[in-house]
Assembly symmetry: C2
């Protein structure tokens, strides 16, 4: 894909970066990791790679003892295994495209301990025929998405075990509660959701009760491991909550046009930034609107801006923002200290 | 990037496709092209590759005589030139990252006739120092984005010519009028916008008045060429207008979970589909909501659905949807007849 591009020297400072570009503030990223480790050390956290889709970032977390990972797609599982991070990988999603992962399980030359989520006869059967040997029973706990009824979990576990699969426990994602702003209300509602999951865990057996996310990393005290990934880089939506994490990820842009009518245009359009949680935030003024390759910004001091100036916008949703980019640039002040490939994209 | 993926056989029918996947209905695509050609033959249309980001699709349009192209990013220009489609390429956007394109202009081994849009002293100067030799003066015609004031266009043209640049004319994008539903109102408002552009063209000189898009391809009768790309594949937003184009692009998904509470889950999440124009459309029922890798759908006959069934969703905005994918699969009925790489992504 890059063979038709002229070679350019590696950027050494943020001023060298072509834009739009994803920029990670190293000190904030490290602070976010420390805040999580203080509450969820080692395998009490199962980092969700869907948030950042980068084996480089995953390897950093594994170095801190978070050696089990969580994936949303078969592609993410394949990439982790290829990067030597296949010690304990959970595909926390139902899939019928599992034969490609069974090939990895059968390959003695790679470490590929893969567990798949199942919530129906069909998905149990897909795991059986794939060659994957371990499952978690996925239980619906209030989010209208995947997961079996909690009363059906034991039956599915029996079906899996009778075919020789290891049933490691249950998972359930209380995604509808991630953004509950009041902490007391969050704790109460997470508790009600987890009551169903714990009941199912009793029927299912196994050691694992996997749940949660960045928004409930400390309030979900019912699970044995938390599935969280957004906390590493955060976004302006999660930043509204009372969490000990800060936004480490920005989309860097260049001002390409200034209107005497009061707006400036940066090249940070919606092809560089997810819009499903709304506009990004900007500390220089209001964000008017984004189009494919443009952000129309309203700085109160627009007459002080020049074409060529840089801006940094904070996306409202980190996961799909990162999925639009080939890499993230890690910076310490203005210096670029690392480049993380976003190598787990697509399906 | 693909070296760590197991090799799989090429899909021959739609049933073989891993999901989510972009699917193009060949007959509808061809019908859209014919409808455009009837109104804007040859170089009266300058196809905007930002909509589809594929040199394979661009080559199909060039074969019909649309040999001039329009780009939103330097990367798109580079890709067209590398694919032998550099006969007349307009970067219809201001940029300070132009030296990489000047290298192509100076390279006698490739055809790279590149024209850049400018709207300020700074962007004129960036073209001069890049080695690009031609410009259009970009005029703001009502959309709060790029473009100089129409009264400043002549002065910018003089600045460019005095430095030896060829000034080929003007461009102006009436993007705020693309979705005006009433045709008579659209014609009237486009006329008012184009009045400014035509006045600027008189001050600037040159042969080109470049404007418009899919929504105004037949109502903008003031320009010499239309910049349109979405018409090739369309989306559910443009489908609301009285245009002779139909939706040719779907996101194909697989049902992975069914709830007895009445919803089904497909693997067509928002990482496979742009959300800036809202939810996709689905002919099987209501679309409840999308999350990263899931679509929660509400078919009235949900009890008739099975895990493994396929769904096709129509995205609301085609351009950023395509930019999320590596390729498009062209189908004739259930048969796959072509694969178009989305090779103009990123910046």
């Amino acid at each position: 894909m890059s063979s038709d591009r002229p070679t350019r020297p590696d950027p050494t400072t943020i001023d060298d970066l072509p834009t739009p570009a994803l920029v990670v503030e190293k000190s904030i990223f490290e602070s976010n990791l420390a805040a999580m480790d203080a509450v969820r050390p080692g395998t009490e956290l199962r980092p969700h790679v869907k948030a950042f889709k980068s084996t480089a970032l995953a390897a950093r977390l594994a170095a801190d003892g978070h050696t089990g990972f969580c994936c949303a797609t078969p592609r993410e599982v394949e990439g982790l295994v290829a990067a030597g991070l296949g010690h304990d990988v959970l595909l926390a999603n139902e899939s019928l495209d599992l034969a490609r992962l069974g090939v990895l399980v059968a390959d003695d030359s790679v470490e590929a301990n893969i567990t798949a989520a199942v919530d129906s006869d069909s998905t149990v059967d897909a795991v059986i025929s794939s060659g994957i040997r371990s499952v978690l029973i996925d239980v619906e706990v209030g989010l209208p998405r995947c997961g079996c009824d909690s009363t059906d979990a034991g039956r599915l576990a029996d079906r899996a075990r009778s075919a020789g699969l290891e049933v490691r426990g249950v998972m359930g994602y209380e995604g509808h509660l991630m953004m509950v702003e009041d902490r007391a209300e969050r704790i109460e509602r997470v508790g009600a959701a987890m009551e169903q999951l714990v009941a199912a865990a009793g029927d299912v057996g196994g050691d694992i009760v996997s749940a949660g996310g960045t928004g409930t990393f400390d309030t979900n005290t019912w699970c044995t491991e938390i599935q969280a990934g957004s906390y590493t880089l955060l976004d302006s939506d999660y930043a509204k909550l009372d969490l000990p994490f800060q936004v480490a990820l920005n989309v860097l842009g260049t001002v390409i046009s200034i209107s005497p009518k009061g707006w400036i245009i940066a090249d940070t359009g919606l092809k560089s930034m997810a819009m499903d949680h709304g506009n990004p935030s900007w500390d220089g003024g209001d964000v008017f609107f984004l189009s494919d390759e443009h952000a129309t910004l309203l700085p109160p001091d627009f007459e002080n801006w020049s074409v060529g100036d840089r801006v940094r916008l904070q996306p409202a949703h980190v996961d799909p923002t990162i999925a639009k980019h080939e890499c993230m640039w890690v910076v310490d002040g203005d210096d670029i200290v690392d480049r993380w490939e976003v190598d787990l994209r697509h399906w």
